[in-house]
Amino acid sequence: MQLTNRKVVVSHKELSFAERMYLPAVAKGMAITLSHLFKKSPTIDYPKKTRPMSATYRGRHVLKRDENGAERCVACGMCAVACPAEAITIVAAERKKGEEHLYREEKYASSFEINMLRCIFCGLCEDACPKEAIFLTDRLVDAEFEREDFIYGKEKLVEKIDKRIDITKRQTQAVLDFKKIPGLRHNTLFDPKKQVKH
């Protein structure tokens, strides 16, 4: 089977006198390296310059708050079920009186952990979420020295009230429309016959 036409058959024939002089071959090699002297280096001065990122880059997760600053997550577990890597662990709790400004609905996640070593950044949790609570952002997961530090709890995942994370890039009109398709409604099982043409 021939994959490329760059195949060279190795031969052990005696070198001719010109070949044994080495010099033509040496000159050829030197010309090749010299030509690279004038080529542009593909290296990027990383800390100073960064490569452009895709608009929908799937990086580190964020748990969104609503416009009043209350956490949107209701600990329904859809994301944990959807997660193919089983990276998400949720412990649910009931909202008490006087905590309305903290949690949007009666149920909330008292603990929400994502293991960043397991996570494959597929974005299925984002798709699965019925409350628009979890999103992947363009931020990177930091390097750590300990494996424990890669299990991100709520203190790292929930966005700060005074420092909101912008996720509008991921909520384009196309995405929002897609989520409205009844056949893809999160709480119903997928049935192609029920799917409405979009």
Binding site: L23, V26, G29, M30, I32, T33, L34, H36, L37, K39, K40, S41, P42, T43, D45
Partner: protein
């Protein structure tokens, strides 16, 4: 007497300083040049574009832990790198770096000493340089070091012969004087010796690569086979001396080739340029321009050394010996014979 001592002292310090400075920046330029040939950027963190990298490297070398193996021969272990460094620096003494300078009616040669056997002196010092590697490699009491030392010494002795014979051919066509200054002065009219010695130059260049243990003849170090060869056991500044001396050797070999084959401080139409500028014999400007021309040639040669290193793969050891003894030695003898015939018809030698 005192004036002579001061002048010689200044010359010694200047040659010493230039050798060390050029060697230091060769280490940076080697890495930069390799990076450029490989479409990379090279070191650029220390200072603007990495200009302070040699200082950072030197500082690192000085502050690293010195390790002297218990089983080594301590005195010889220290003697090895020192000797290699000293012999590397000694060769610079006979190289004239520019046209003589005239100050207050006294002519000062830009050369530490003009001995009438300068060319052989260079060969002699180079041959003694083997000891540094051999002593260091043996005193380490490590088989890789010993193998590296044995390879280095046999390689250097083998290539010295072809080098010496091509040098003889050069001396014949340069007028028969062994003094380095006379060889450079013989190219005063702008015709460099390379015109009469093209084959000799190629032989000399290949031998110079082998003598300085540079790739493709770096059998002495040979990281992939001998984990560093003769300097396996060395650390800190003693290792630094070995590595540094290699660059000094490279600088001196470049200076020798640029001087012997490419005219050194002479260049085509130099005398016409000087008279057009209205410069008198012994003017400091003539010395400066000559030194600039020489230095440019040296830098180009250093680039050539590096270019070869980052292009050609290492020879196998038997190939190296075959090339030295069966290739270059007969070739240099042939070159000598051709030279004698040519010089006879040029009238430089009579029978």
């Amino acid at each position: 007497m005192i004036a002579l001592l001061i002048y010689k002292g200044i010359m010694c310090v200047a040659v010493f300083g230039i050798s060390l400075g050029v060697a230091a920046y060769s280490t940076l330029w080697e890495r930069k040049f390799a990076a450029f040939l490989q479409d990379r950027k090279g070191p650029n963190r220390a200072g603007w574009g990495g200009i302070l990298q040699p200082l950072a490297d030197g500082g690192k070398m000085f502050f690293k832990e010195e390790i002297i193996p218990n089983v080594s021969n301590r005195a010889l272990f220290i003697l090895g790198p020192s000797m290699f460094m000293v012999t590397a620096l000694m060769t610079g003494a006979v190289i004239p770096w520019g046209k003589p300078l005239m100050i207050n009616g006294v002519t000062y040669d830009l050369q530490i000493t003009d001995i009438n056997i300068g060319a052989i002196y260079i060969l002699g010092v180079a041959s003694v340089g083997v000891y540094g590697i051999m002593i260091g490699g043996w005193a380490s009491n490590n088989k890789y070091s010993l193998l590296g030392a044995v390879r280095a010494s046999s390689q250097m002795i083998s290539y010295e012969i072809a080098m010496g014979i091509s040098l003889i051919a050069l001396i014949i066509s340069a007028g028969g004087s062994l003094s380095v200054k006379d060889i450079l002065e013989s190219q005063d009219q702008g015709v460099a010796n390379i015109v009469w010695q093209p084959l000799g130059f190629i032989i000399f260049f290949v031998c110079a690569l082998a003598e300085t243990n540079r790739a493709p003849f770096d059998m002495a170090e040979c990281e992939t086979e001998l984990v560093g060869g003769f300097h396996t056991e060395y650390s800190a500044m003693k290792l630094g001396l070995f590595l540094f001396a290699e660059y000094i050797n490279m600088f001196i070999s470049s200076a020798i080739m640029a001087g012997f084959y490419f005219g050194g401080y002479n260049f085509p139409f130099a005398n016409e340029l000087y008279s057009a500028l209205g410069l008198e014999q012994g003017s400091w400007l003539i010395s400066l321009i000559g030194f600039g021309a020489y230095f440019t040639k040296i830098v180009l040669f250093i680039c050539l050394f590096m270019w070869v290193r980052w292009t050609l793969p290492r020879f196998r050891y038997d190939q190296l010996m075959n090339l030295g003894w069966k290739g270059l030695l007969p070739l240099s003898l042939l070159n000598l014979a051709i030279t004698i015939v040519i010089e006879y018809f040029r009238g430089n030698i009579q029978f």
